[in-house]
Point group: C2
């Protein structure tokens, strides 16, 4: 948002970020239905081009690059680092993993930038199966790489539609619903809805501690 | 829109219609990627429930029914009836057909309501293949039922994403871009972009008349 304000001051940063993100997701779904996969960096670039054109924002190549770079420099929410440590200690035999629409290169760069790479045993990208969430082929990647049955995996997402897809696949799902929006009217209900990752760690620690 | 204003006067009809339509499309795409088809009536009902909940519109069952009924009572744009007649005369050996996300029952009812049923030789619904546009399996229905190669079929749509899907499939595509939005940044370009169906008939008649 801040980057948009700086680089494209003549359009509303809120409008641009909102339309860009919406088109980014729409294009992943549409390309998945069409059977026309390109990786998330390409989809995100195309979504920016459309969103900028629609809002009358003229972007030259350097401006476009600087906006795209924002995806590699995302900051984690403040509670994330500590909450990941707590989640990691919870069941030592079950590792933490990333399962993301992001391309392998985007994931490596953002995990390096945030210094969170070492927290995760697996960093899995949809790029391996060349289709996006919520395809069951994506969620099956976690089963395969972790060597665990889907019902033993707790899948955590901030996106209602991803929660639905993962729940319909058969994961146990926690929805980090930071803005308190209603659930999507899709199959696949979450087992747990929390405000942030700290609340998730609280809830899981409580479940595991024997009743007093 | 008018129906929303009457039935749910306490929320913005524009916001409700916009979010309802957006969720309706998103759910068709998401369910297609998930492999969880339900028909367009069910998807449209679920989209309304989510949109109403998100905007704080309390809908009882009769209000919901009356809003849903709107999909069966849609009116064609003013030029449609006349333009269809002109298009039908253009190449007598090539029939007009509907290829729609709508369920067979929705299509029959809206075509009866608009008295346009007799204009179309084929009324094809995605329901036959249980996946939504822009799946190539949907566009293949037209080839199969019309007995024509995809490149001999002129596919006409008002939706940029449907234009992309149909173009990527291999149809010749005309985009009726009534509101003048920029093209989606997806594969599959239209052969023709027009403002309405009258302009489409004009363009095609001009193409077919020998140079003077």
């Amino acid at each position: 948002m801040e980057r948009c304000e700086r680089i494209v001051p003549h359009v509303s940063a809120r409008d641009l970020v909102e339309l860009w993100r919406r088109k980014q997701l729409e294009y992943t779904w549409l390309r998945s239905v069409m059977g026309r996969y390109v990786d998330f960096w390409a989809v995100t670039t195309e979504a920016l081009e459309h969103a900028a054109g629609r809002l009358g924002a003229r972007l030259d190549a350097p401006a476009q690059s600087r906006l795209m770079e924002g995806w590699l420099l995302l900051e984690p929410y403040p509670e994330v680092r500590m909450a990941l440590d707590r989640l990691d200690r919870l069941v030592p035999s079950i590792p933490l993993a990333v399962l993301s629409n992001g391309s392998p290169q985007m994931l490596e760069q953002v995990l390096e930038h945030t210094r969170l790479r070492s927290r995760f045993r697996h960093v899995l990208s949809v790029d391996e199966v060349r289709i996006y969430k919520p395809s069951p082929r994506v969620y099956a990647l976690a089963e395969r790489h972790l060597g665990l049955a889907r019902s033993s995996i707790l899948f955590v997402s901030a996106n209602g539609w991803d929660v639905a897809g993962a729940g319909a696949f058969g994961f146990s799902v926690a929805w980090v619903n930071r803005s308190g929006v209603p659930a999507e009217a899709l199959p696949g209900a979450p087992a747990l809805v929390v405000d942030d990752l700290e609340a998730l760690a609280d809830a899981l620690e409580q479940q595991r501690s024997p009743p007093g």
